[in-house]
């Protein structure tokens, strides 16, 4: 069942069809909530987002893609959460170095790479919210500029400028020498 069919059936009240959509997009929804700062509440955020998405399915524009539309709701829910708990959104991410798909043979090289990456991650964490969100969407979630604009609810030019400023700041923070 493709997205379009699942959406049609969901609109008619077919919860089996909606389960297909939830299953399909659960992982990316959790990842988005986590990376945008939902922290340990990512699961609540995602569940709420899926419930709201179902209720608003009638306003989904059928000619567009479901994923960015859903992630927009996830991003909004995450915003509501971080705003309500009154502290800065943070990346709820751990460096999953133990799960690297491959390991360089040289242990010292591993350590250097790990060090570079944790410094980079720290630098991303330290970015102003808007720049960090753009960087997270573009590079960690690997969304296109257009998708990022939809998810964050801003214009394309705004995505470009926030991304650029974020990159420039990261470059200043971590320096060229750590980046091969």
């Amino acid at each position: 069942m493709d997205d379009d069919e699942a959406i049609t059936r969901s609109l008619a009240g077919d919860l089996d069809a909606y389960e297909v959509l939830v299953t399909r997009y659960s992982a990316v929804a959790h990842r988005t909530a986590g990376l945008l700062g939902a922290g340990e509440e990512a699961q609540d955020v995602v569940q709420e987002a899926f419930v709201k998405a179902f209720r608003h399915l009638g306003s989904f524009r059928r000619e567009s893609a479901f994923k960015p539309w859903l992630l927009r709701i996830v991003a909004n829910e995450t915003h509501n959460l971080t705003r309500s708990r009154g502290r800065r959104a943070d990346l709820a991410m751990r460096l999953g170095l133990e799960r690297e798909p491959y390991e360089p043979e040289d242990p010292e090289g591993v350590a250097v790479a790990a060090d570079g990456r944790s410094r980079l991650l720290e630098a991303v964490r330290g970015l102003p919210d808007r720049e960090r969100e753009a960087v997270v969407c573009r590079y960690f979630l690997q969304l296109s500029e257009a998708e990022t604009a939809e998810v964050l609810g801003v214009r394309l030019g705004t995505v470009k400028s926030r991304t650029f400023r974020g990159l420039r700041r990261l470059r200043e923070e971590v320096g060229r020498e750590l980046l091969r």
Binding site: G13, G34, L120
Partner: protein, 292 residues
């Protein structure tokens, strides 16, 4: 917090003016992507999430306020204080109440004659729906245009007595000729509801409900502006926005089985009322034109 946010004219444009967007950041971008690949966020199994979401959707009526995920989801009339009015409204006129077949047939003739060209505009203000500016009745569908209140939030339920059948079984089960639009081909799924009062055909991305369009109101739609668009060539009406759809019980009473309906084309072919939901306007017009 940058105040130049919505004015991307500063450094970015100066920068991309070199003709090399992302100039000098290629290595950093690659490193960020690689870093992203190593980031793991804890996530429960997707099937568990699906079950949890389903349980919430199936649960008792939600008491929290309707979702407002973003500006883009704004809907007409959802802020009004009359938001409850939509739930238990009496419908303007209760319908058939077990009259004899002969009476129904004569009513049918009268109604058919009217329905051919008629879209009746009634300045109706049924009790409890004073906000409704006007009502359009056409092909067994009643459309209230006014302040519709919030779109239904609960889980839509199927039509009464709905069961899955084959197309042939459906043809035997209903009293009117079932129309299968040539442009869509054989339906993927066929359902008959309420003792043959409604037959629903499904294709990926499309739902077509067919019913006797002369005997009274079968479906009720509530929407705000803009008005449905009349398509004179097909004697059809196009409802362009998502809207509240409810089923009007056979023997009258308040509409039930409310759900959110996607944009819909409504037309009539002979005595059969049709509502096609899902396709875009142009697709819907093509499909309707092929339903001969």
């Amino acid at each position: 917090m940058s105040s130049s946010d919505d004015h991307p004219g500063d450094d970015f444009q100066a920068h991309s003016g070199t003709g090399r967007p992302g100039d000098g950041f290629g290595d950093l971008e690659a490193e960020l992507r690689a870093l992203g690949d190593t980031l793991h966020s804890p996530a429960p199994p997707p099937s568990g999430v699906a079950r949890a979401v389903r349980a919430r959707l199936e649960g008792p009526a939600h008491t929290e306020s309707p979702a407002r995920p973003g500006r883009r989801f704004g809907r007409p009339g959802r802020d009004g204080s009359g938001s409850r009015a939509g739930q238990a409204r009496p419908l303007g006129s209760p319908r058939r109440d077990g009259r004899s077949r002969r009476v129904r047939l004569s009513r049918r003739k009268v109604a058919a004659a009217l329905a051919v060209f008629l879209a009746v505009l009634i300045g109706a203000t049924p009790q409890g729906r004073a906000a409704v500016a006007s009502v359009l009745r056409f092909a067994g569908v009643e459309i209230g245009v006014g302040a519709p209140g919030p779109l239904p939030a609960g889980v839509p339920s199927p039509l009464p007595g709905e069961r899955r059948v084959t197309l042939d079984e459906a043809r035997r089960a209903v009293a009117f000729p079932i129309v299968v639009p040539f442009a869509l081909g054989d339906p993927a799924d066929v359902r008959v509801a309420d003792g043959g009062r409604v037959v629903s055909l499904f294709w990926p991305g499309a739902r077509l409900d067919e019913f006797d369009g002369t005997l009274g109101v079968v479906f009720r739609k509530d929407l705000g502006e803009p008005w449905p668009e009349e398509i004179p060539r097909l004697r059809a009406w196009w409802v362009q926005q998502p809207h509240r759809l409810s089923y009007v019980p056979r023997h009258g009473g308040a509409p039930r089985e409310e759900r959110v309906a996607a944009p819909t084309l409504i037309w009539q072919r002979g005595a059969v009322g049709l509502r096609l939901e899902g396709p875009s306007r142009d697709q819907a017009l093509r499909i309707a034109a092929s339903a001969r």
